[in-house]
C-alpha cells in the first residue's frame, strides 16, 4: 500500500517535475506529473511562489518556472533524503 506523501515530499515532487522538464513546465503537465488535484495544485503554486521557489508567468496558463532558490531546495532535500536513508530515520 502506498503511504501518504508528506508536505515536503509533495513540494519535492513539484520542483523535480519542473527541473526534469528543463526548468519550466505547463501548469496542466505539472498537475499530472506531481499527482495533485487542481485545487491542491493551485494552493501549492501560490505557496511556492510566495516562498520564491518557483515563478509563474503572468499570462493565462503561463509556464511555471523553477528559481535558483527552488534548485537549492532540491539539493538540500536530496542531502536530507541521503541522511535519513543512511541512518534509517
Amino acid at each position: 500500500m502506498n503511504q501518504r506523501r508528506t508536505r515536503m515530499e509533495i513540494i519535492y515532487d513539484i520542483l523535480i517535475a519542473i527541473q526534469v522538464k528543463g526548468g519550466k513546465i505547463k501548469p496542466t503537465h505539472l498537475m499530472y506529473k506531481s499527482n495533485l488535484s487542481h485545487e491542491l495544485m493551485k494552493s501549492y503554486i501560490g505557496e511556492l511562489s510566495e516562498k520564491e521557489l518557483i515563478e509563474k508567468e503572468e499570462k493565462e496558463n503561463g509556464l511555471v518556472l523553477i528559481t535558483h532558490k527552488g534548485l537549492q531546495f532540491l539539493e538540500q532535500y536530496r542531502k536530507m533524503k541521503e541522511f535519513t536513508d543512511s541512518f534509517g530515520l
Partner: protein, 227 residues
C-alpha cells in the same frame, strides 16, 4: 577503579586524542541533523541531534576528567560540586567519580535517544521510563562499573541491529558504512566489559576498536554529506 574507567596513566594522552575524534564526529552529526531540522521542521532531526550532543558531552566529560585528574589543584572545586549533587563512593577520587558519572549519564541518555528515534511507535512515556532507568543504572554503575558498559552494549546492540536491518533494506554504501561503524562501536563496548580481567590490555584494545568505529562513522558522515 580509575585504571578500569580511564585506563593506564601512560595511555591517557592517546585516550584523549582518540576521544577528541569521537567528540568531533558526534558534534558534526549533531550540527548537521539540527540544520536538517531547520530545513524540514521534522522533530526527529532535533531528537537525533540532541542524542549525538549527549554522546559528545559524555566524551567531553571523560576527556576533561582524564586531563584534570593530573592536576590535584582542581579537586576541591570538583569536591564541592560533588557534595551538592550526591553522595559518591568514598574510595574513589571525587574528580574521577564526578567525571565518570557525567560520562555514563550522557552516554546512556544519548544511546537511549538514538534507540528510541529508530522505534516507529515511540512515546513520551517510553522516553521518560528510559531516562529514569538510565539514571538508576548510572548511580549503580558507580559501584559496579561493568553495569554501565553492559547497559551501553545492550543499547548499541539494539541500534546496530536496526542499522543491519536498514542496510539489508537499502543496500547503499552509506547505510553499509554506518552499520559497520556501529558494529565496531558495539565490539568496543564488549571489550570494555572485559577490562576488569586485564585493565591495561583490554582497555587499550577497546579504545582502539572504539576509535575505528567512530572514524568509520566520520567517513560515513562525510560520504553522506559531501556528495
Amino acid at each position: 577503579m580509575a585504571a578500569i574507567v580511564f585506563g593506564p596513566e601512560w595511555f591517557s594522552g592517546l585516550t584523549v586524542l582518540f576521544e577528541l575524534v569521537t567528540v568531533l564526529v558526534t558534534f558534526l552529526i549533531a550540527v548537521y541533523s539540527y540544520r536538517l531540522y531547520l530545513f524540514s521542521k521534522e522533530k526527529k532531526f532535533v531528537y537525533f541531534s540532541i542524542s549525538f550532543l549527549a554522546i559528545m558531552v559524555s566524551f567531553l566529560a571523560k576527556i576533561i576528567t582524564t586531563i584534570a585528574s593530573h592536576y590535584s589543584g582542581l579537586d576541591p572545586l570538583v569536591q564541592s560540586i560533588t557534595n551538592v549533587s550526591m553522595g559518591i563512593s568514598s574510595g574513589t577520587p571525587y574528580i574521577t567519580s564526578l567525571g565518570f558519572l557525567v560520562h555514563q549519564e550522557f552516554m546512556l541518555l544519548g544511546l537511549a535517544g538514538i534507540y528510541l528515534i529508530n522505534q516507529r511507535n515511540r512515546s513520551i512515556l517510553q522516553a521518560g521510563l528510559l531516562a529514569y532507568l538510565v539514571s538508576v543504572i548510572t548511580v549503580l554503575s558507580n559501584a559496579f562499573y561493568f553495569v554501565f558498559y553492559a547497559t551501553a552494549a545492550i543499547f548499541v546492540a539494539l541500534i546496530a541491529h536496526y542499522y543491519v536491518k536498514n542496510y539489508v533494506g537499502k543496500r547503499t554504501t552509506s547505510s553499509f558504512l554506518i552499520m559497520v561503524s556501529f558494529l565496531f562501536i558495539l565490539l568496543s563496548h564488549f571489550v570494555f566489559i572485559l577490562v576488569i580481567l586485564n585493565p591495561t590490555l583490554f582497555f587499550i584494545i577497546a579504545e582502539i576498536v572504539q576509535l575505528l568505529g567512530y572514524s568509520l562513522l566520520l567517513y560515513a558522515y562525510t560520504f553522506v554529506t559531501i556528495k
